[in-house]
């Protein structure tokens, strides 16, 4: 019996040793689709988007074979910790709460929060007196939610939504005066419709978006940071960014 335990623990130790010494020739990266324009599928079924192309560039830089995995958002961090994949590149904002569970790379982009309203909305959103009593819609748990909750909860009424679509419907139906939402999401869902406009300057919030990895994979984080740094400086990053965005999200 004792021998068996010793043998078993040796086997486990060897397996663990193998993991430690991984060369990272193969990296599995998870995305939650669709989240245009960051990651989505073309009508032909091909995975593409800003983060997907950036991931491909990182893999080319590392000379690694990358496998892209589709994973729904609520199972992202559990899936990473359960070793279903090695990294998340799916617009995951760096927060202290998440950093307790995962290891983040340096941020690789940061989208501002944008203010959007109906055509007839003519109030300066930074003027707290003018905003008195207005109803503001945010997506629950976003950095925009945190910002409005901390800065404006005495001034405005805050309504929290799970999806951006529900929020836009209430903006259209005049239950909301203005929404404060991740800029690309607002561009997609609000500005694409008739009768809406941007009503204030975009606000840069939070620490940006990083690649999330398991805390033990420090070697992988080091490689990805180096690759991202190179891409940001040699123009590859800018080329990909300009393909998808009309404004600057580089960080």
């Amino acid at each position: 019996m004792k021998k068996l335990i010793v043998a078993a623990s040796c086997a486990i130790a060897m397996m663990a040793g193998n993991v430690q010494a991984r060369e990272w020739n193969e990296i599995r990266i998870a995305f939650d689709v669709p989240y245009e324009p960051f990651e989505y599928k073309t009508p032909e079924g091909e995975l593409t988007g800003f983060e997907v192309e950036l991931a491909e560039a990182v893999c080319a830089e590392l000379r690694a074979d990358c496998e892209f995995v589709i994973q729904a958002w609520d199972g992202m961090i559990p899936g990473l910790l359960a070793r279903k994949f090695d990294a998340i590149m799916s617009s995951m904002s760096i927060t202290p709460e998440r950093a307790e569970h995962v290891l983040f790379s340096e941020p690789y982009y940061n989208t501002p929060g944008g203010w959007f309203g109906r055509e007839d909305f003519n109030v300066d959103v930074t003027d707290m007196d003018a905003m008195q009593g207005k109803i503001v819609g945010v997506q629950r748990g976003t950095t925009m939610d945190t910002f409005v909750t901390n800065e404006m909860s005495d001034v405005v009424t805050i309504k929290r939504y799970t999806t951006a679509e529900d929020m836009v419907l209430d903006l259209e139906g005049q239950r909301l005066d203005v929404v404060f939402v991740d800029y690309p999401v607002g561009e997609q869902t609000v500005l694409s419709r008739e009768g809406f406009k941007e009503v204030g300057e975009p606000v840069k919030l939070g620490e940006g978006v990083g690649v999330a990895m398991r805390p033990r994979d420090r070697d992988l984080a080091g490689k990805i940071n180096a690759a991202l740094n190179k891409l940001k400086n040699d123009g590859t990053y800018d080329a990909i960014m300009n393909k998808y965005f009309s404004y600057d999200i580089k960080m």
């Binding site: 629950r140 309504k159 929290r160 529900d166 419907l169 209430d170 259209e172 139906g173 005049q174």
Partner: protein, 240 residues
């Protein structure tokens, strides 16, 4: 909230005084929403149940259609249709109705009331249909009119048979009210979702709210047990 209690709570990471107040606001909203919809639902259900037992199809047919529609579709869908549907009606924003339906509370109250009224109608109808013939014949022999018979014999007798099934409906309604949070109402579940997204602590936030729902359920169960004992006291043995 007294200061000593707030100080004591603020030592916690998640269940701070602010969190507890948020839960409390949610609790008040949930209780208001459920209580009002049950009360209004009952007021609608009694006349509808009587109509549903009428012999004429012109009276019972529309009620049948109504209960069929509202029991045949999920409450969530009904809430979405009422909440978002009303806002899509052309020009509603300029009428006085909008002052009511602008707030999420009233569309939710309307959806919950119509839903629970449909179920309660069927519960009461079943109880009315099951009235023993002898009771009705005896009432007729006394020369009671239809209205007096309904008030003194049929409805009280039906209430005794309906109370157990209705207590289930009340508890279902309490739990179904959790979906009010999808239309931005900060009820108990809405409060828990806000706290969860603030602290990324699903276990604490949702177990906290589950305990509150359970306490409410136990109170309801206790009230209905008392009510049952009161209504069915004639069936108890005289001694003990």
């Amino acid at each position: 909230m007294p200061d000593f209690l707030a100080d004591w709570l603020n030592q916690n990471d998640i269940f701070t005084a602010a969190t507890m107040l948020h839960y409390w606001d949610g609790l008040v909203t949930t209780v208001q929403l459920v209580f009002l919809s049950l009360l209004l639902g009952m007021a609608i259900a009694i006349p509808l149940a009587i109509m549903r037992t009428a012999k004429s199809w012109f009276i019972s047919g529309p009620v049948w259609l109504y209960t069929y529609l509202f029991r045949g579709t999920p409450l969530l869908i009904q809430l979405y249709i009422i909440y978002y549907g009303i806002a899509q009606i052309e020009g509603i924003q300029d009428t006085f109705w909008w002052t009511i339906f602008r707030e999420p509370f009233y569309p939710a109250l309307l959806a919950f009331t119509l839903n629970t009224a449909a179920y309660t109608t069927e519960i009461i109808r079943g109880a009315i249909v099951a009235t023993p013939n002898g009771e009705i014949e005896a009432a007729k022999a006394y020369g009671m009119s239809w209205a007096l018979r309904m008030r003194r014999i049929v409805l009280p007798s039906a209430a005794r048979r309906a109370v157990q099934a209705y207590s289930n409906e009340v508890i279902f309604m309490l739990h179904a009210s959790a979906i009010a949070s999808v239309v931005t109402i900060v009820d108990l579940t809405g409060a828990a979702r806000n706290i969860y997204s603030r602290f990324y602590a699903p276990f604490d936030a949702f177990i906290g709210v589950a305990v509150l729902y359970m306490i409410l359920t136990f109170i309801l169960v206790y009230v209905f047990r008392r009510l049952e004992r009161h209504l069915l006291r004639h069936q108890r043995p005289l001694s003990h």
